[in-house]
Each structure stands twice: as C-alpha cells, then as structure tokens.
Point group: D3
Chain length 248, copies 6
C-alpha cells in the first residue's frame, strides 16, 4: 500500500516532520510518499493562505493518483482543499483534522484541539462543527506562528504547553489534539508530560487511509463529490481544468 | 458610492446579466462596476471549480480596492472565496448567497433556494447552515448546467419553474431565492408568475453593500478576518502573496 | 420613499434620539417619519411591558400604512410585536434587533449585543436564536434602567462601556451591537473609543427598510403572516379587530 | 386547591368545553375556576389575534391571584401571554401547549401536535422548539377554523381525523396531542378510535398545576421572570401598569 | 392509586430517604410502595454501576406490575434502565431526572442540576440533552461519593452548598435541581437557605406518575417501546427473558 | 496484535458470520479472537434485550483483557454496553455502529443506516445523534427479525435490498451502512449490486481497533470513563463488582 502525504505549504522542513510522523504510524507494509507543494504560501495561517494552497495541493494529488498511490492525506490541520480533492480524485483522501477528531472520539468524550494562531481558531471551530464534534470538542490557540514550531529559539513549545494545561483544567478535556501538522514530533513527549492521550492528526490520518484502502472503500461519487464537470479554464490556471490536470 | 461586482467565473455574457441586475437594484447615486474574472473556470459547478475561481476573484477585489471602490460583491451563489476576500480587503465584501438569505429572512419565515446542479446542493446547504438559516430554508436543485441558463434553446427555465412549484407545495416555502447569479434576469417574471416574493442575490447584495457603506461599517479586523500575515508565496502563485498582490 | 419609525414606548424624548439616528442613516431621498406610541408603558423592560406596548404600536403601523408609508420600523430592541405587525401590514416591517444582527453578520464572525437590564437578556437570547445567530452572538446586560440612558447624571454610559470591554475580551467579540434604541446616539463615540464596529439597530433597520422597498419586496402573505382573519373583538380592545383597525 | 383556568378568547361556549375537560382531570379536592376573557378576539388564530388576547388574559390572572387561587392555566394552545403572566403573577402559571408536550414526553418518543389552521403551525413549531421537543414532535394543521370545532355541521372532526391518520403513518407518531383547547371534548373518542394515547393540553395543565402547588413550587423570580418594574402606563392601557393592575 | 418507587441500588437506608420524600409529595389518596433492588451495586456512580443496576430494577418493576401498581418510579438520577422498563411494562414508568427537568421547566428559564460525582456529570448532560433541556440547564458535580450523603460526618452537605452558590452566580440559574435521589431530604432546608426553588426528582416523579394515572395515559406501545419480543435468554440471566420474567 | 470481537448475543452462528468479516478485514499480522456471550438473549432487538446483553458482554471483555488482548470490539450495531465497557477496560473498546459511521464519514457526505427491526430505529437514531452524524445520516429499518438474516428461507435479503433502494432515492444517500452485525456477509454483493460504497461495521471496527493500538492510544481515564469505583455488588450479580470481575 502506498499513501501520498501532501504538505500543502511550501516549507520542506515541515514536510520532513510530517513524513517522520507518518512513517512512524504506518504499518511496515505501507509506503509513505511525502511531497511538498510546489507553489503557494510557506505556511497556512488563516483563510487567505488556505485559498492559495489549494492549487498546488490538488496538482500533487492528481500527480500521485496517476502514479498509482492508494490514498492521499492532506497534511494541514485546516483540511485545506479537502472537498475539491475528493471531487478530483478516485482514491480516498483524508484530512488530518477530520482524522484526528474521528480517532479521538473513540477514546474520549471531551477533548480540545490546541492550534497555533488565533486567526485559525474560528476556521477550525467550523470544521469541528461540520465533523459533528461541536458538543464535545473545543478549540484553543496558543498564539504562535506556524513556523516558530520549527525554531528552537522560540517559546512556541512553552506556550503550547500552557494552553494544554488550561484545556485540561477549564474544558474538562480528557484528551488533547495537536492542531497543526508541524506539532507532530511533540506527540510522545506531551503524552508523557501530561499523562493524557495526545493525538497527532498526521499519524491518525495514516491509519484512516490504511483502513479505507484495506476495506476497499473510496469516496462516493454521487452528489457533491461527483467527478468534476469537463470545461475549459483560462489564464494562469488553464492547466488546472479537470481534464487537463488529470491528463497532464 | 462605487460598488465592484465580480463575476468569479470567466463567462462575460453572464457578467452582463449580473451587471444589469445590479444596476437595476442600485440607487441612482451608486456606480456599479462589473468585472469578469481573468482566470479560472467558465462556470462554477461544485467544489472543484470553486477552488480555482478564488485566485482570479481575489485579484479583482485587490485591484478594485486599490482603485477606490467602496465595497465588493462576489456574484456567485456559493459565495466563492468570501472568507479569503474579507481577510484581504479593508472594504466590505458581500456574497450573493448570504445577501439573499439575510434579505429574505425579513419577509418570510420559510423559503427555498432553487439552484442549478445537484452537486451544488450540499455546498449550499452548508452555507445555509452557516448563515443560521437551516431551520427555515431548504435547498433544491433544478438539475440544469449553469451555462444552459444562457441558452434560449435549453429547457432550463422550464425545469426551474417545475422545481419552484414543488418548493411552494412541499417545503411550505413562502418565498423563493434564485440560487445562481445567472438567473437574475428571471426575477420579475417569476414573481409575476408565482405570486410570491422571488429574491435575486445580486440585487440583494447591492442593497446590503450600499447599507454597509452608508453606515460606515466594514469587516472587523479581529480574529479570523485580521489582515493576512506577510509571507512569501512561490511558484505560479507567487504574485498572490498578500503584500505583493496589494502592492501590484 | 417614506419610512415610518415607531417608538413603541410612550417616551417622546427617546423618540427624538431614535429619529436622529434614523435620519442620519437614511438616504437623502428618504423621508423618516418618527412616531411615539400613544398608549402603554414609558419604557419596555421585559416581557410584561412588551405585551402592553403592542396595541399602541400596531395602531401606529396601521395609521402609517393608510397614510401611504413604504415601510415600518419597530424601534425597540426586543422587536416588540413584530410578528403581529407583519400579519397586519402589507408593507415591509423591520425590527431593530433583527436588522442589527443581519447587518453585523456581514462584517464579523462573532459579536455581542450589550443591552440594558438583566431581565431583557433572556428574551434577547431567544431572538438571537430565532434569527439564527446563536452560535456567533452573545448577549450581555449592563444592568441599567432604559430611561437612565436619557439621564446625564446616571452612570449608564460607564456601565455600558465596562460591559463592552468584557465582551471584547471574554466573548472574542469582533463587533458590538447596542441592544437598546435609546443607545443610538452613542454609536459614533463608542466606535472611536473601542476601535471596533459598533452597530445601532435603528440605523441598520433604516437601511434594511430602504433595501426592501427598492427591491420591491414585502412580507410574504402565506403561512403565519397571512392577513388577519376577519372577526369581532370585544371590550376595551374592540377597535383593534383587524377590519376595524384598518378601516379606522 | 383552587386552579384558575382562563380562556383567553371571548367565546363562552369554548370556556364551557375547557371547563369540562379541566374538571374531569382535576382531583376531587381541586376546585376548577373557569373564566372567559372580557376583551379581545372571539378566537385566537395566529399572531395578530394572540397579541390582543394578552391584556384580557392578564387582567383575569391578576384578578384570580388577588382572589387567592393557587395556580393559573392559560387555555389556548399557543400559550398566549405565558411569559408576561409569569412576570406578573407569584402563583405558578401553566400553558396548555407546554403541559401537553411535557406530559406526552413521559409516554412516547415521537409524537405529533394536530392543530387547527395552517397559520398557527409555525408559531406552534416555535413553541415546540422552545420547549425542547423539536427533535421528537411534529406539528400538523387540519386547516379548520377554531370556531368550526363548535359547529356540529362543519366537517372539522373529519379533517382532524384525517390529519391524525397521516401523522401516525408519516411521522412515526406514537401519540397525538390535540393542538387546540376547543378539541378537549374529543379526547376519549379519538383514543378509542385510533388506539394510541391522545393528549388534551387542558387536562395535562390541570395535573401540572396541581403538581406544582403540591410541591410548593412557583415561578422563580430571578432573571426574565422577576416581578414587573413599577412605571406609569398611559392611554387606553393605563389601568394595566403593573402596580395599578395588581392594586385594582 | 398505588405507585411503586424502586431504588435501583441495594442500600436500604437510601430507600428510606427516598420513600420519605415520595410520601411527603404524594396525594393523601396515593399509596407509595418503596422497594430496594435485590441485586447489584450499593450505589450507582457512573456507567458501570448503572449497567448492573438494571436487572434488579426491572425485576422489581415486573413484580410490582403483576401486583397491580398503577405506575413505577425509578429513583436514581441517571434514570437507570428507563427505556428497558418502558418496553417491559404496560404501566407508566417515570425517571426522577426527567421528572425533575420537566417540572422545573414550568417555573424557571434557566436552572442547574447539582449531582454527586464528576463521573456522573457527562451521563447527566446526555440526559439533559435528550430531554430537550440542553439550552437552559447546566450540570455540576459537587465531587462527593453518593453514600457520603448518608454520613453525617462527611462534608457532603457543605460541598453541595458551595456548588449551588456557584450555580446561582455563574450559570444565571433561577432554580436548582438536586441531582441524586439521596439528596431528597435536603430540599426544604436548601430552599429556605438559598431563597430559590429547589427541586427533588423523587417528589417531582410522584406527581408526574399521579398525573399520568389520573389522565389514563401510559407508554405508547409503538416503535421503540413496543413490548419485548419473545425469545430465550440463557445462563445467569435466563430468568429475565421477557416471557419468563412476566410469568414469574 | 490480538483483537477480541465479542458477539453480545448468545447465537454462535452469528458469531461465525462476524468472525469471518472481522478476519477478512484484519491485517495479516492481526489475530481476531471471536467470542459469543455466555449469557443473555439470543438476539438483541431493542432496549430490553440490550439491557440483558451487557453483563455477559462485560464478562467477556474482562476475561479478554486479562488474557492480554490489545483491543475489544462490541459486535452489535446498537453499541451495547459501550460506555460501561470503556469504564471497565484499560484497552480500547470500539462499537461497530460508531466505527461504521466514522469510517463512512471519510467517503460520503450523506449516508443511510439500514437496520433490521423498526424498534431499533430510534435507539440507532440516538446513537447517530450522539456520534455527531444527525445532519448527514438517516436510519431506516427493513422490518426483519435479526435471526431471519441467518435463515435462507426468509425474505430478509429482499426486504433489505428494497430499503437500500429507497435510501438511495429518497435520502440522497451516497453510501449505505449495514445496521446489524449479522449482515456482514452481504457487504460485497450489495456493493456490486448497488454500485455505491456499502459499509459493514464489524470490518470498520477491526480497522479502527488496529489504528488505536498502532497509535498507542486507549480510553482516556478522566471524567465519565474513569475506572469503576470499588464497591460491593450483591445478589445474582455479586461477581460483577468491579474488583471481583477483574480479579476473577
């Protein structure tokens, strides 16, 4: 089984963190294929960056599908472009936010996502609602830039821990979800430190992707996820017209 | 007062329909500035097209704001790229779906959106939920391609009318919302024909934009709509990095 | 265009404050016609006063409609008698609470209504729910009598400001709605002071009324808003029987 | 124990039907005191009539409380003026809609209210939501005028039965609630006919009133139900100022 | 009228407390028949104990029904086994949580349940949701073991009072519900002490049971509460097969 | 990895069907350990049977945990005793309903559960709500006894197919979930027949159990799932006291 893991921002060092977490979670018979988006923002912080991360992401998924991968993972916690990807691809596509929420729901009744910046809080709350977890999952922001997670000199880790402590006390959280792909490498130490389940979306998504492939399940192509309608695209984005992208 | 009306697909004839509806709704002292997106799909039918309509749309909004327009309208019923546009712009930005729903809510307790294709139904239902109207507004699809609305030889009008009849009978709808910018020119005749309020989102959005400008209100720049974070974008989309786009 | 603005309490000085805000918001071609209810309570503080403000309010709306106004506004933040008014009138009728919420929803994701007395908080929370904003709008009370807003010697302004500060910090509010028609004159200074959008329902309602009239839309007369059934009323309220009131 | 049962419309023959149902339900040691409102509409059909039924209703409740009754019931299925009555009175006040819903919820998981006119359906749906039953209770209208229930020559009974049949088949209803005080005398025969529990709100309210009195419970006078604020009322409604009404 | 009150734990001293509250609430013509479950846990603290309290509880209800009681009450605040009991019995069955919530909803808009242990909080929140009260009722835990309520040397009363104080201040609670059958004897003194309605579920359930019996209403035997399907049970629980239990 | 799969009814032939589906889904390195409950009902059809399936189920989970299994699956679609099992066990415990819903949510926006008997529909709807899927998942019953699935002479398959057809047409279902463990063997043929994803909860639960074990995650032991409180149980169920059961 081969699983494509797309980092939809263009920062290769973050892809490395993601790839490590994905590989650790994968079964020994699963091959993880990490890729970094070739265009767009260096990090995804809020709605604006998210919009421009989608074309590069979809290009990688189209390329991966043509190369024969069995499933694709979108490794950004706002599940960037997930709906469009499911329209495009015939293989299953998993977002790390939805995978983290679904996985945590099997082991805890109440839990909290701790993300990076305040501006990402509301979009994540919308996802939490959409995935049916609004009654049991809160979202908190540690108020740290995404790339500060890569900077050992920053106080990002400290602020993240402070927010986790608040979540455990004030939210009645029984488990913590790390709300950014770039936090994946902190999972083990935070579990040890806080003594509660700490869930990384990248690892969770790998297991969900393996599950779907093993079960022979893929996106239902009825309704909103039916394959894209053939039509011309123009200008800078001409190459992304559905037929063109899939043929390229 | 000058209001930019962006058609986020690349079909100029549809922009003409939109512009006519916008101008009819505008106060005589308001100038409507219609533009067609310079890149992307010829029509927006579902999640995939929507994703690729966003860059062209945001480019037009940035351009309009620099040229001094007072407000911007996104003239596609799935409110394409609305959140990203609100992050980008300091002027108010209005989607035609949200404008239609908010306006209709003042005159009816229950109403139905009739849109084009089945694949757009679920995304619109998500918008209806997000705008707080899930308890009183249903979504129906007439199962017609967007561009067939421009084709006098198609049976699009007939299917639209059939779906409106069903909505009035089965949904207890007291008013009808036309769920596609390309239907704007049918408003008056459908009102006459069915004897109920029929709401066109383009016209509604013009009045909401005029209202916000007159009231001196614009997007609150706290939380999810704070201005975009400065950062490099790369590849094909390099020119869309927030600072670059606004400086261009 | 002529818009009737009814103050449903009997305090003429508050009507003056309302009229000033309405006129400031109105287009230069719109005539604002302010009236004070001829019967009922001097201020509306909770469910009991609200019940007795309705007859006087409806009498003014019937009179205004007969005199040819194009729309009516109910200028009390609990949207007193709005449903009954929509049954009675053929012209559009707008409540200032619903107008404020609908308008603010175009510029902010989360916002807070600050009202006067604690006893009005729950009725406003019910309105917020009914208008579909429960997930994004909180209600707070500054614990000040309505008429203290008219008294320069009271500390009403101070308490209002204190509650706004709390809303901005604790509710993640991005904008503030003034939850009493009598606060309309404070809008500009509070905007300047807090640096966030501050919305006055009277002004918002004027723009929504102008919008509906311009769009040729009025209350759908199907279902709950169908015209009242002809029937005799007796005793003190005899003159309010639907046919009698409209004929008077 | 003495329980006041107010018919908030002015039709005495309907009060007789209500009184009979109340007496049948009451414990032998309970005295039922039926009264007909002295002013307002002859029947309550929708929002407009409801607004004008409130003053007469509240006058009767004030009079009854002064005369020493232990509890009051509002015998109209739209729970006319219930919130205002709870502000006014220190004794418990019960609406027949809320009593019917609460009682039925102990014996069925899903049930349907069958009311009279289509225009009452939406107001009842709002009550069903407010009382927390939206997920399990539907509302249907038999499309019959309220007073036709008193007319043996009308086909009201037939239409009511037809709507009950539909509710049992299409709504998965396990029990039926009669959605108008004027239907109370049909309870026994409809139970026999359809073989499911049929609940009359008047009878249910009597038992709930008896329960509250026996338990020594009455309306909590904090928040929205705190006693009305002393203030002058003017014009036709002068006598309804809280202090005046209670002193009269 | 004879009402069975089953204490589903095996602690007879708690049954005595329950019986006293039930008798105080019952009409003089009602006979209260208190029973203690013959098998299972000495107290019910969370999901595990609850599961093992059900067989003993159902055995008592079957026995009571055969002996001709008119209704049954399950006197544990998690409404242990209520659904199964309604399937089994033809007489009405009432849980004390649902009775307390329904009763309090007639006298307060917002209220708080104060229960014993933190582990019971979430199950009670699920009940509050299921009974339609999630928008107006909070749940708090005083963090006291159930049986400490019986121990005069414990500080259970003190902790309970502390939590009630917090509920009145922070939850805007207008009334308090005692969230454990073992608290029934504190009702009167807590009412006096806090000056707000304090509701005991045992007493409330007695009145609701009396109401249903007087109204001639019992569980609707359609859908989920249809009588159990005849089938063999095996092993330790053989005697609980529906036919066997009812025949025993 | 060793996964215990408990059939909580006592019908061994159904355990065989379940075991086959579980083994087919399991990774080649996973050992499936199927067990049949030693006590209780031969099939679980509604609330009553469910209550008596719990003790036998928990006994098997306790036994399995002591024998060192890594995770446990409850193979009945009403997720019998799941909360109690999570309190009892330190290993992860998965219900087949929750696993099916969570898995399907990755591949479809709208889907329908088709279960056996009408009386199971409402309990499943409650689960669907609790798992956050109420907005996108409907429940239908084919009106077939559970054990008829084992009987080749019954028309169970035919009725199941008829209900699936209705779900695809009327519910806008994009995928189907088989709402009974005994349907697991039909998955492949129904997929082929209807051309949409068909999900069997047993297989889905195996993958979710494998995922949790691989990720090193188990039930959070805070709040409602904290380990059971030590206390004596008496009578027939004495051996199920938490300490006794785990020590046995």
């Amino acid at each position: 089984m081969r699983i494509l893991v797309v980092n939809p921002n263009t920062t290769a060092s973050m892809t490395a963190t993601i790839a490590e977490s994905a590989s650790r979670a994968a079964h020994s018979s699963t091959e993880i294929i990490p890729v970094t988006s070739a265009m767009g923002p260096v990090s995804i912080e809020g709605y604006y960056d998210e919009a421009f991360a989608v074309p590069g992401l979809l290009a990688e998924i189209a390329k991966g599908e043509k190369a024969g991968v069995d499933a694709a993972i979108i490794a950004c916690f706002d599940d960037t472009g997930l709906d469009a990807a499911r329209v495009l691809a015939d293989i299953p596509v998993i977002g790390i936010c939805e995978a983290a929420l679904a996985t945590t729901a099997f082991i805890a009744q109440r839990f909290t996502v701790v993300t990076t910046m305040e501006r990402s809080r509301l979009p994540l709350e919308h996802l939490v609602y959409r995935y049916g977890m609004a009654g049991r999952c809160k979202v908190r922001a540690a108020d740290i830039p995404v790339l500060s997670l890569e900077d050992p000199a920053s106080n990002a880790g400290e602020r993240l821990r402070a927010e986790i402590s608040i979540a455990l006390q004030e939210d009645r959280a029984e488990a913590i979800i790390l709300g950014c792909a770039g936090m994946a490498d902190l999972t083990a130490e935070l579990r040890a430190e806080f003594g509660v389940p700490v869930v990384d979306g990248v690892a969770a998504a790998v297991k969900q992707a393996e599950a779907l492939v093993a079960l022979g399940l893929s996106t239902a192509k009825r309704g909103a996820y039916a394959s894209p309608v053939s039509k011309p695209y123009s200008g800078l984005l001409e190459a992304f017209a559905p037929d063109t992208l899939r043929a390229s």
